[in-house]
């Protein structure tokens, strides 16, 4: 790849004057070679180009293959996919705040901290390697709350029930969740659970132990919000009590501490705390019925 000139020439450069940005900037990456391994910081020097995002920074680091002190190292591993903030794969902690790498623009990051850009993997999920984490706990929680609509067979079942405009407008924002994990990373009640495969243990056994551990932990804002989404859907409602049962099981909605960081960091601006309060009301009524309707 050609090293583009520091003074990128496209007219709509973000910086007002070209002297505003440095020729090079530093990137500090928290690396880890394998699950459960030690982590360590590594610094890289990257030549500034206009309109970079963190993904393109990581591409440059991979291309140059050396740290700031000239040591040849294995390229930093990271996940990415859509590059337009709708898949959630490139979520990481950038300058101390969880967000998607693809929409983290270098010009903005350098405006906040001209010294360097700091990249860390999310702290609430087990690290697979470098910036790649295993978010299976997030998906496990979606399974717990049955975050889907049951379709019984493939035959034509006719038109579904009508959904009012009001319900649609309430449901649409919740349906935008991309399972990125920002809400969980920022949540003080969501603490890391990491289960490592032990010597002599099969992968299936380790998997079962991991899932059992996940089911004791907090499910998180995303799962509560998805439970609310599918409980407002006319067909989804048919499994409403199963979802409410899970919301009140261990690690359910009661673990929420109302810090409300989830709604503050959600890149899709999903009203997560409204969902949490809505689910809180639903389980209040449901628990009352469960105990006194029998």
């Amino acid at each position: 790849m050609n090293a583009p000139s520091a003074n990128a020439s496209n007219g709509h450069s973000v910086s007002a004057s070209k002297s505003d940005h440095p020729e090079f900037f530093q990137v500090r990456v928290l690396r880890q070679d394998q699950p459960g391994g030690d982590c360590y910081w590594q610094r890289y020097r990257v030549r500034y180009e206009s309109d970079m995002n963190v993904i393109s920074v990581l591409q440059r680091i991979a291309a140059q293959g050396v740290t700031m002190d000239g040591r040849a190292v294995a390229p930093v591993a990271w996940d990415c996919n859509c590059l337009e903030e709708i898949c959630g794969a490139c979520t990481m902690v950038i300058n101390g705040r969880v967000r998607q790498a693809c929409s983290a623009l270098v010009d903005r990051l350098l405006a906040d901290n001209p010294q360097e850009i700091e990249l860390r993997p999310m702290t609430k999920f087990p690290v697979v390697r470098d910036l790649v984490v295993d978010r299976s706990r997030l998906f496990r929680a979606l399974q717990r709350v049955r975050a889907w609509i049951d379709v019984d067979g493939y035959q034509d079942q006719g038109a579904g029930p009508r959904v009012s405009r009001e319900d649609q407008e309430q449901a649409y924002p919740l349906s935008q969740c991309m399972s990125c994990g920002c809400c969980l990373e920022a949540c003080p009640q969501y603490t890391k659970i990491e289960v490592l495969q032990q010597a002599g243990e099969s992968a299936a056994e380790a998997q079962a132990r991991t899932e059992a551990a996940y089911d004791h932990g907090f499910m998180g804002a995303h799962a509560i919000s998805q439970a609310v989404l599918f409980n407002t859907h006319p067909t989804g409602q048919m499994a409403a009590s199963q979802r409410l049962e899970q919301l009140t099981a261990e690690g359910g909605i009661q673990v929420c501490g109302n810090a409300q960081n989830c709604v503050a960091v959600c890149p899709k601006q999903i009203p997560l705390t409204t969902s949490i309060a809505r689910a809180g009301r639903a389980v209040t009524v449901w628990a009352w019925k469960k105990w006194f309707d029998r």
């Binding site: 101390g96 705040r97 496990r140 399974q143 717990r144 049955r146 920022a186 003080p188 009640q189 603490t191 059992a212 089911d215 004791h216 899970q246 009140t248 099981a249 261990e250 690690g251 359910g252 909605i253 009661q254 673990v255 929420c256 501490g257 109302n258 810090a259 409300q260 960081n261 503050a264 960091v265 009203p271 705390t273 409204t274 949490i276 309060a277 809505r278 689910a279 809180g280 009301r281 639903a282 389980v283 209040t284 628990a287």
Partner: protein
């Protein structure tokens, strides 16, 4: 797969199995009876600002429960506070405050809720010891509570004993001010989060309004609490004691109160029924 239930529920420990119920009881106990008790407690104490006799009258009202009072204390005050505190510690241990990375107002309040809970726990433990002594047994009061500057409050000399306990040292007032503010913040913010937990205020606008109401209520209660503290810190202990002793002997003659030496400053020497202030006059 589709049917995901957390293991076999009967094999889980009790606390995990009933996590929802326990958290909801913790939430409820913060309002009723603990929070409600605190409001009544601070309002009663603030009556010292009216007059030492007004506060003494209120205390007589409370102590008119007689031998039922310790039962009421334990069932509606001590046990709920202990439950709230113990579960609260468990809740604090389960979280990882991160206001450093995410310094949003509500996240800071999340951290403050936990910090104020810890402050309140130690303050209340010390405050109950300081005034009440924790236990009524004679040997405890003689060998532990009194030597350690505890059990100073005497119900039939309410204003003078509470006043002198506060006026012992200026640090006592400082500790009380910190403790009261921690408790009031914990209650006001706790009511706000409780409203979300139980689904009373759901949307962001409703939550903002509720926060405004809780803030106003918290400021008002803080004023009541600090007013009560200020009243106790400035009350004339000697004068108050004379008023109390007159009230006591009046009530004793009327047969309204028992001659309980535990509830009087110098009750030990007055079992002959001679009015204490008579002798001084």
């Amino acid at each position: 797969m589709a049917n995901v239930s957390p293991a076999d529920s009967s094999s889980q420990p009790f606390l995990a199995r009933h996590e929802f119920l326990i958290r909801r009881l913790h939430s409820l106990s913060g309002l009723v009876p603990v929070g409600a008790y605190m409001v009544v407690h601070l309002l009663t104490n603030a009556s010292v600002l009216e007059s030492p006799a007004a506060f003494q009258r209120n205390v007589y009202g409370i102590h008119s429960l007689g031998r039922l009072l310790p039962v009421v204390e334990w069932v509606f005050i001590f046990i709920p506070i202990l439950f709230h505190a113990i579960i609260g510690v468990a809740i604090i241990r389960g979280g990882l405050p991160n206001h450093g990375s995410y310094p949003y107002a509500r996240n800071i309040r999340y951290s403050l809720q936990r910090a104020s809970g810890i402050v309140a726990f130690f303050f209340i433990a010390w405050h109950v010891f300081h005034m009440h002594g924790w236990f009524h047994a004679d040997w405890w009061l003689k060998t532990v509570a009194t030597p350690l500057a505890g059990a100073q409050f005497k119900a039939f000399n309410a204003t003078s004993t509470a006043g002198s306990a506060i006026q012992q040292h200026w640090l006592v007032s400082v500790f009380y001010a910190i403790g009261i503010l921690a408790c009031v913040f914990h209650l006001a913010n706790g009511i706000w989060t409780m409203g979300i937990t139980w689904g009373v205020w759901v949307g962001p606008i409703a939550q903002r309004r509720a926060a405004a109401v809780c803030t106003a209520g918290g400021i008002a209660l803080a004023a009541v609490g600090l007013g009560a503290l200020g009243g106790m810190a400035t009350v004339d202990v000697e004068k108050a004691k004379q008023v109390e002793d007159r009230m006591f002997h009046h009530k004793l003659e009327a047969g309204e109160v028992p001659n309980d030496s535990h509830k009087r400053t110098d009750g030990d020497h007055k079992d002959d029924g001679q009015p204490a202030d008579m002798a001084r006059k």
